[in-house]
């Protein structure tokens, strides 16, 4: 069994490969040298899609059979000129049945029914009644997280709007932010103006959703209709990445000091783990550095879901200093992988 770690950075992507033990890793790259690489996913047909962008030549979609050889898709997501919206970057991909979804900046979701070659806008979201009141976060007005039930339910995290949900495969949307403090109040619309940073769903129960928000960690047991705070054991309310190991339903996050400082509390780069659905969190530090003042960005953490009878799942993350860390035992021990990369934008793990 082969495990591959695809690391997207501000100036290219890097590929780390290992066997099922995930102890020694071989690094290749950069792929797309000079290009910002912001997302990668399986395309649903045995291949992969990735998102690249440049300040000069804009964003585009890439396709590959093997994570190494890439070809630019002829048609990337594109808003109509009439809409006035600009497509600036893909933040995330998600599967919905046989279709692929892409969450983008400016905030919207596009759908591909041909494994990433062509894309059409889910207009119900970008024409939502609250759209005129959507306010960009520090990282832009971006649809950065998509989770689905695999059929027709979609949850979309948008900064700094909040979570919007659809039960009809993206035709109509409602805001799902009750119980989360509003950061940017709007005079006309309630239910938006929250600043979601990441969302994940329980792999066994799509009604249970976890949420790292600008103002804390939250959990919903009713598909996002209401949220409760789950902070016990976390050193701060602020942070970006949140991932869940599908085989054990273990959660991982990386708190930062505050929205003003955006570095690990006291410079101690630590991952926090919850094995009870977020009821409490435990600090993981073995192999992780102190005196580290770099953030772990929103998409820069991943799991490989390899937990089983003889091994534990892998957890991976990269930081803004271009350091990549890997654990092959659900975070008990960490090693820093080879290389000092450009700013790490995302990390994704693939097992084959």
């Amino acid at each position: 069994m082969r495990t591959q770690l695809f690391v997207g950075t501000k100036k290219g992507a890097f590929l780390y490969s290992s066997d099922s033990a995930r102890e020694s890793w071989k690094m290749e790259g950069p792929l797309f040298p000079g290009w910002s690489v912001s997302a990668v996913a399986r395309d649903g047909a045995g291949g992969f899609v990735a998102a690249t962008s440049s300040d000069i030549y804009g964003p585009c979609i890439q396709r590959s059979p093997n994570l190494r050889e890439w070809k630019i898709a002829e048609k990337s997501p594109k808003y109509s000129e009439k809409s006035g919206f600009k497509f600036k970057q893909v933040w995330t991909f998600a599967a919905l049945g046989n279709s692929l979804l892409a969450g983008v900046d400016e905030a919207g979701v596009f759908r591909s029914d041909d494994h990433g070659e062509t894309w059409s806008e889910l207009k119900g979201l970008s024409s939502h009644e609250t759209r005129s009141a959507w306010f960009p976060g520090f990282g832009g007005l971006c649809a950065h997280h998509l989770i689905t039930d695999g059929k027709d339910k979609i949850w979309c995290g948008i900064s700094a709007v909040g979570v919007l949900g659809s039960k009809d495969a993206g035709k109509s949307w409602v805001s799902l932010n009750q119980g989360v403090p509003v950061l940017i109040k709007d005079e006309n619309f309630k239910g938006i103006g929250t600043c979601v940073h990441a969302i994940q769903r329980d792999p066994e129960n799509s009604q249970r959703i976890w949420r790292q928000d600008h103002v804390g960690m939250f959990r919903s047991e009713d598909g996002g209709e209401s949220w409760e705070s789950i902070q016990e054991g976390l050193p701060s309310t602020f942070g970006f990445p949140l991932v869940v190991d599908k085989s054990t339903r273990t959660l991982f996050c990386c708190p930062l000091d505050s929205d003003e400082k955006r570095y690990p509390p006291n410079g101690e780069l630590r991952i926090y783990r919850s094995t009870n659905g977020g009821d409490s969190w435990k600090k993981l530090s073995c192999g992780l550095p102190s005196s580290s003042y770099h953030a772990v960005l929103r998409q820069a953490m991943a799991v490989d879901n390899l937990s089983g009878e003889v091994q534990k799942g892998g957890v991976y993350f990269g930081n803004a200093a271009g350091e990549v860390y890997a654990s092959n035992d659900l975070g008990d021990h960490w090693q820093r992988l080879q290389g000092s990369l450009p700013r790490v934008l995302f990390v994704e793990a693939f097992v084959s």
Binding site: S54, I72, K75, S76
Partner: protein, 85 residues
């Protein structure tokens, strides 16, 4: 940076105007259009396009129209406006 993605440095086309040559290049290499053009069909802000003839090079920024006649052997040069330290 375009070469990194497309694997080519140039496209040969036959056309009688600058606009026609660009259109022909986009038909040969469809990804070129999205790399060079924004939603409104204009060149992206930091993309520079020069019409090069035997007499010299002229930037499209200062042209009122791209319906500029071409002569056999003319070329179009795409550059990225990158400056600063």
């Amino acid at each position: 940076m375009i070469t990194v993605l497309l694997g080519i440095r140039s496209v040969e086309v036959t056309a009688s105007t600058l606009a026609g040559a660009l259109q022909a290049a986009y038909e040969k290499e469809p990804a070129l259009r999205q790399l060079l053009m924004d939603e409104s069909g204009s060149f992206r802000e930091h993309v520079l396009c020069y019409h090069r003839t035997a007499q010299g090079a002229a930037s499209t920024r200062w042209m009122a129209t791209l319906n500029v006649p071409l002569t056999l052997g003319d070329s179009i040069l795409i550059m990225q406006a990158v400056s600063g330290g």
